[in-house]
Structure formats: structure tokens, C-alpha cells
Amino acid sequence: MTEHLPALQVVIPLLCAPICMLVRYRDWSWVVALFGSWASLAIAWVLLQQVIATGTISYHMGNWAPPLGIEYRIDLVNAFVLLIVSAIAAVVTPYARESLRTEFGSNRIYMFYTAYMLCLCGLLGVTITGDAFNLFVFLEISSLSSYVLIAMGNDRRALTAAYQYLVLGTIGATFIVIGIGLLYAETGTLNMVDLAKRLADQPLSRTIGAAFGFLVVGISLKLALFPLHLWLPNAYTYAPSVVSAFLAATATKVAVYVLLRFLFTVFDVELSFGFMPLDTILFVLAVIAMFAASAVAIFQTNLKRMLAYSSVAQIGYMILGISFANVNGLAAGVLHLFNHALIKGGMFLALGCIFYRLATVNINDMAGMGRRMPWTMAAFVVGGLGLIGVPLTVGFISKWYLVLGALERDWWLAAALVLISSLLAVVYVWRVVEVAYLKPIPENATKIEDAPPAMLIPTWLLIGASIYYGINTELTVGVAKQAAQQLLGVS
């Protein structure tokens, strides 16, 4: 049984999707989704322990030996990402039941869970697979289902947001397939390990350069690297709260993982950063993202939109870490994958709680919310401290390693930029704190209770984890550092 866990990781959510569709009744489909996400989390946890104990796992789909057959290859990097994705899903699903009740017509709820399970399956598949074309197929499964999820938002602008994402996402995916195709034309293989081996034996040609370009641009569209982030703010703003939380915490993270996989495993560091000057390009774009997106976030009145722009800025930090191309920098990138998933997931869930009671997340309606919904607002503020990078939160740990990575390369300017851009986060988080805690409750405000426990507990689980992993960094930093060493091929 345990040797088939890599397959089950993908197959269980994939099977849960049609079951959700068939049972139709909303609470039953919720139970199925709950089972799917919790089983995924359990499998991801076992896989991570196995990888830590015995090293890389190679699973041959249907017993066809690679490189001809499809291989699922799990090393520390993707075992960690699998854990992130499935953990977020496991926390978001219990929350979804209560949250969807207000945001959704109850007769369509089973369709939500179907798309949600497909999206989870796609994201896990992208992460676990060791085959380049298989990666594209899973990427499209997750993308198509996330377009559906976003379009389920109540506002009609959700439809245009989903459409815009569909067009840009498809362009990105097509770029990725073209890149994979060019690599296949050059090497005659699709297995990532085999690709890496054959590419290393070959002189660099223009075809490989073109493949590299197509892949990087395509993946950058998916991970919303500035200036290819245009689909993201609308999509996260108008999607249902649960979807915003789930996608913000997982979809872009998986895309960052794919970028890591291609830059460091398929192509090697010399090609990515020597032959191609990608480190400079990524560095510049990441810095612009950190400043421009944070600055835009300051002026948003819709808090979901504010968090969306903040996501673009935070992705900038991850990419910045990757552009350093040293162990500390990469470790910071991988760490921030995990840390940002906790923080942003938690904050979007907190906004979902507010939306549940107020039916709005506009900053002008937040006056006195610190007293009207104390637990929810407290979660939001603690998450905000994480975004800033205050010590004892996970955000601090990421930034610490980011600065270490910058200093290791003697990029003092980069280290300074990380610290300065954090100040922008202080501004946009403080705006909310000021309104929520320092302004009086408006007189005509109806009395509201805090969010129900079914929503508060998942929110606090993520926010609590963002504190816990800020203090106890053994698991995260240990895995991230080893993962970075594995990617760079140093021990």
C-alpha cells in the first residue's frame, strides 16, 4: 500500500471530484471533499517523512519504466510543496461549508466541490510529476478548474475576471507547451531527469535558448511575476472568499515551484544564470514587484484587492530569493512559499469571516471592527504582522534568509531594498488597524457577533501556524535548506 502513495496523492482528489458531482446533496459532497483533502494531507505528510528518511522516491506509473513511462519523482522540494498545498486544502475545506452558505446558491454547491477537488488534484499533480508533458496536463486541469471557481463569485465582475484569467492563463500554458516541445525536439525525451542529463551532454543551441525563453515567460505568467500579474488582482478580488484563500495560498506557489524545477533541475544553474542572464532579469522584476505592487496596495479600498496586490509583492520576494542563486537565497524562496501560504491563506480566511457578517470588505465599513469582531480582526492583524516581517512571525524568518542570501552575494543594495519595501507593508497593514481599532463604531451599525467557530478555527489554525513556525523553525528551515542544496546540486 505505502509504495503506491505517490499515485494515491493525485488519484484520491481526482476520484473525489466525480463523486461530489454524483452525490449532489450539498453536505454529502462537502464530506467527500473533506475526506479528499484530509487524505491528501495525510499522504503528503507520510511522503515527506519517507523522503527525509530514505531520500528521493521514484514511482513508475503503471509499472512503465522511465524515461518512456511517466515517472512521479518526489524529492525534498516537491514533498514540501505537496505538504503546503494539501495542508491549505485541509484547512480551507472545513471553512468552506459555512462560508459558502452565504455566498452561494445552495443548489450549485456540489459543483463548487467538484471544481475544487479537480483544482486540488491538478495542483498536486503538477507538483508530484517528473514528466514535462504530464506537468502541462495537470497544469491545465488546475487552471481550468480555477477559472470555474473564480467565475462562481457573486459579483458579475467575477465573470470578466475569470475570462481575463482564462485568456492569459491559456497563453501562459501554450508558451509552456511550446517550450516543452522545443526541448523534446532537441533531446527526444520528456522525463525531467533524462532531459537534464541529455541537455548537459549537448552544446547550447538556439533551440534550447528559445525553449528556455518560452518556458520562463509561460511560467512567469502563471506565477504572476510583475509585469505579468494583470490577471491576479481581479481574480482574487471577485472570487468567493474560500477560493481567494485557496488559490492565493496554493496556485501561485505551485507555479513558483515549477519555475524552480525548470531552472535548476532541467536546465542547470550555468545555463539559467550564465548562458541566459536570467538572474539579473528576475532581480529587477522582483524588486519592481516588491515596490510597485506594495505601493498600489496602499491605495486600495477593497481589502481583498489590497491583499491581492500584496500577493504580487510577496511573490517578488520569492523570485528575489531565486535570483540570488545561492543556498540561503533559494532557501528563503522555498521558505517563503510555505510562510506566505500560511499568512495569505489566513488573512483571506479572516476577510471571508468579515464578509460573512458584513457582506462587504470595503475599508470604509471597517470602522470599529476590532471591537465588533475581535477574534477575526486579531487574526487579520497577526497575519499582517507576518506580511511585514515582524520577529516571532514566519515573515521574519523568510526575510532573514533573504537578507543573508543577499549579503552572501555582496548585494548590499538588495538587502536594503528588502527592508525598505517592508515599510510599505507597514503602511497598508496600519491603514486597516487604524480604521478597525482607533475609529469608533458607527452609531447606525447593527450589532453583529464574531464569525462562527467553524470559520474562526480554520482561520486561527493558519494564523497560529504562522506564529508557531516563526518560533520553531526546525522543520521549515531544515527542509528548505536541504531542498535548496538539492536544487543547486551542492551538499
Binding site: 508533458f133 502541462f136 496536463v137 491545465e140 481550468l144 477559472y147 470555474v148 467565475a151 458579475r156 465582475r157 465573470l159 470578466t160 475569470a162 475570462y163 482564462l166 485568456v167 491559456t170 497563453i171 500554458a173 501554450t174 507547451v177 511550446i178 516541445g181 523534446y184 525536439a185
Partner: protein
């Protein structure tokens, strides 16, 4: 004669750029989807061209046949075509719902309505 021998690739580049241009330049949401389709079709042709072996026949085992085209890119592209169909279907479904919600499928008019509300 190298340029003529690369005939298929010229077609690919032309279709890719034409499709991409339609997606960017047109305001009509249905036309954007069509552009997206043309863009994807160029990628299908690219893959199929890779698979062609000069003088090769269809990859079916039969007596006297030694050179045949590489079937793998064809199979891959079958998958990609299915993905393309799903994307088109979903895109058009979204356009239908946008039309119900806004009463138009022109990007600029939708933009004006969003600004007003």
C-alpha cells in the same frame, strides 16, 4: 532552399503571431477566443512537424516498412487538442454568462459599465 524546407515552421510562426495579435488587439470576447484557438493551433502544427521523419510513413507495423514517423508527438498533441477544446468550451460559456450579466460582449463597453457601477 532551406527556407522552403522550413515551410511548416513559417506557417507556425505566422499562425502564432496572428492568433496572439487577435487576442491582444480585439475587444470582442468571442474573437479573442478564436484568436486563442489560432494561437494554440500553431502549437499543434509545431508538434506534428517535429514528429515527421523524411520519407517515413504512418507508424503502423507492416511488412517492408522500416522508416516511419514518430508517433509520440501526435499522441501528445491529441491530449493538447482535448485541453484546447475544454478551454474553448469554458471560455465560450463564460462569454455567454458575461452577455447575460452585462448585455454586451465588447470589452470596452463592459469596462465602461464597471466604471459606472
Amino acid at each position: 532552399m532551406a527556407a522552403v524546407g522550413l515551410y511548416n515552421y513559417w506557417i507556425v510562426v505566422f499562425l502564432m503571431m496572428a492568433g496572439f495579435y487577435i487576442v491582444i488587439a480585439h475587444d470582442n470576447l468571442v474573437k479573442k477566443i478564436i484568436g486563442l484557438n489560432v494561437f494554440q493551433a500553431s502549437m499543434f502544427i509545431l508538434y506534428i512537424t517535429f514528429g515527421k521523419v523524411q520519407g517515413g510513413t504512418a507508424p503502423i507495423i507492416a511488412e517492408g516498412i522500416t522508416t516511419y514517423s514518430n508517433p509520440l508527438p501526435h499522441v501528445l498533441i491529441l491530449t493538447a487538442i482535448v485541453v484546447g477544446v475544454a478551454t474553448t468550451a469554458l471560455g465560450l460559456a463564460l462569454v455567454v454568462r458575461i452577455n447575460e450579466a452585462y448585455g454586451t460582449i465588447e470589452d470596452d463597453e463592459i469596462h465602461v459599465q464597471d466604471e459606472e457601477s
